[in-house]
């Protein structure tokens, strides 16, 4: 249907986006690859030169590295599990016949609009602070010792804060998906004597599968780069207890000022993210109708 000239026009219209994104991707990436093979420390500017794979070896052999990988996986996996499981349950609850569903949706979605440093700072100071936090007051009310959340359980606390930010997103999407489900099907199943659990297992869950996959895709994109929450609360500590791979690279670059090593870490992070991306894209591509 389209002619030669509209084809050319279409290409011309797409070109700026593609070229800009390509440059945005390839220039910093090429520079990172280059730096990753160089000796490059901001604190010793006179020394330069090629160091082969030394930066990579340092990164891979650093005891922090494996902790950071495990922490990253725990953070992403933990938040995904918490938000999807609770999201499904809360969405089903809100989807019941209730009064004030509209205002309730607004309450539930609110944390999603709180910027990460604010969310982290609210939780750190107003809730998890061992002297003045509300949770400490609750502990004291029960006669318990206040818990040092961010010192004793830093990663769990960050998973908790991040889950609070993303639970609304998962809930809202799952709720929207639930509302497009035909109630006749569910009623028919109920009439035929299907238990609440089998209605959930064989009707609701399959209907939600597409929404759940999309929630996992979008959240993974954002969770792999989690930064503000850690920066505001624990700064990766105590020690390396809450250092993720992105935060470890950040520390190498801007605190240790070792550009070479940070770049090697960046390339490792890019490779790992690509593995995840290929995997996810394959699983999800068929769910997006492009």
């Amino acid at each position: 249907m389209s002619t030669q000239s509209t084809r050319a026009a279409a290409r011309l219209m797409v070109a700026p986006s593609v070229i800009l994104l390509f440059i945005w991707m390839i220039v910093p990436l090429a520079m990172t690859i280059y730096f990753s093979f160089r000796f490059y420390r901001l604190l010793s500017p006179d020394r330069t030169g090629w160091v082969g794979f030394n930066n990579y070896l340092w990164f891979l052999n650093s005891p922090d590295f494996w902790t950071a990988i495990i922490n990253t996986l725990l953070l992403v996996g933990g938040v995904l599990i918490i938000t999807v499981v609770l999201g499904v349950l809360i969405a089903i609850l809100i989807d019941q016949p209730i009064w004030g569903q509209g205002p309730l949706r607004i309450l539930v979605i609110s944390p999603f609009f709180v910027m990460p440093p604010v969310a982290a700072s609210i939780w750190e100071n107003l809730f998890m602070h061992p002297q003045n936090g509300l949770l400490a007051a609750v502990s004291l009310g029960f006669g318990w010792e206040p818990i040092l959340y961010l010192e004793a359980y830093p990663l769990a606390s960050i998973i908790f804060i991040t889950s609070w930010e993303w639970l609304p997103f998962a809930t809202l999407i799952l709720l929207t998906a639930l509302q497009s489900m035909s109630s006749e099907q569910l009623e028919a199943a109920e009439m035929d004597g299907a238990s609440a659990f089998s209605r959930f297992r064989y009707l609701v869950l399959p209907h939600l599968s597409r929404a759940i996959t999309v929630v996992i895709l979008i959240q993974t994109i954002f969770l792999l780069g989690i930064f503000g929450e850690i920066f505001t609360t624990t700064q990766g500590g105590p020690g390396n207890a809450s250092t993720t791979l992105p935060y470890m690279i950040y520390k190498q670059a801007l605190i240790a000022k070792d550009i070479g090593r940070a770049a090697a870490g960046g390339i490792i992070a890019v490779i790992l993210a690509n593995i995840v991306a290929v995997f996810l894209m394959r699983a999800i591509g068929k769910h997006l109708d492009a």
């Binding site: 991707m25 009064w99 998906a177 979008i218 960046g266």
Partner: protein
């Protein structure tokens, strides 16, 4: 009989759902309440609810003593600027992908989305150096560019899913009636595309407003938006709880209100049309 049971069930469900909703919302509510207390009242133990000393002084203090207005203005300029620039670049792309798709359109869209998967820290150093050398470091222009590029894939995707729903037949009908290309765009397509463009704009302003990686790493003083302001407000040691809460409330209130209005579009926008 059946009717009373239904009403009773409805009451139970309503109570349970609202309880869950209030728990989720409570940290935001508590922040707003704390911002309205005096500093002494804010850290009182046990916590004060209704008997607190209420005041608006914290807002006046934060406004007067910190550079809050500058941070706020930076946030506005950066989030709105990057969104408008992104729209200007993405609209033609999404338009042609939706109305004149080629064999590669889907691959191209998937590739765009996959660039979002690349961890920002992976390219932090080059960005940092490029920004330093080009004089873009700590400027609003620099952040507008960075955030525009960061959100461009999402803008293209969202617009694409909206544009695809505009029926192609309407264009053919307009052409049959002898509409020129200019009139076709001005009077037929634009009115149908505006709702989609508006929701894309709102959602991307929210995303850009809440962005906290490039805004923290690529600024120091001049261009720092609210994310950097709040991140720097660390360890108040209990002395400035009420002011911290007031500053937090001021940082999130504008976007919370925008968000409430756009929550319906949020779902279809951020799921790229897969969930409506």
């Amino acid at each position: 009989m059946a009717r009373t049971v239904t009403t009773r069930r409805k009451i139970a469900y309503t109570a349970a759902a609202w309880a869950v909703g209030l728990i989720i919302f409570f940290p935001v509510l508590w922040t707003i309440l704390t911002s309205l207390k005096t500093e002494a009242s804010a850290v009182a133990s046990p916590p004060e609810f209704l008997g607190a000393d209420w005041t608006l002084q914290n807002y006046a203090d934060v406004w007067a003593r910190s550079d809050y207005p500058r941070f706020f203005w930076n946030s506005v300029v950066i989030s709105v600027g990057s969104t408008l620039l992104g729209l200007a670049i993405a609209i033609p792309a999404a338009w042609s992908m939706a109305f004149a798709p080629g064999k590669r359109t889907k691959d191209l869209l998937m590739w765009m989305l996959s660039t979002k998967m690349m961890p920002a820290v992976g390219v932090l150093i080059p960005m940092y150096l490029l920004f330093q050398r080009t004089g873009l470091f700590d400027t609003r222009t620099g952040l507008i560019l960075a955030l525009m590029l960061m959100n461009l894939p999402i803008i293209v995707w969202m617009l694409y899913t909206y544009f695809k729903e505009i029926p192609g037949e309407i264009l053919e009908a307009a052409r049959m009636d002898g509409a020129s290309l200019k009139n076709e765009i001005l009077y037929v397509l634009t009115p149908m595309a505006i709702p989609g463009i508006a929701s894309t704009m709102l959602l991307n302003i929210i995303l850009a407003w809440n962005e906290a990686f490039w805004t923290i790493t690529l600024t120091t003083v001049n261009a720092a938006p609210l994310s950097a302001f709040i991140a720097s407000f660390s360890a108040p040691q209990g002395l400035f709880y009420a002011k911290l809460s007031a500053a937090s409330t001021m940082a999130i209130a504008p976007i919370l209100i925008v968000g409430w209005f756009s929550q319906k579009q949020l779902v279809r926008g951020l799921t790229f049309g897969a969930v409506k």
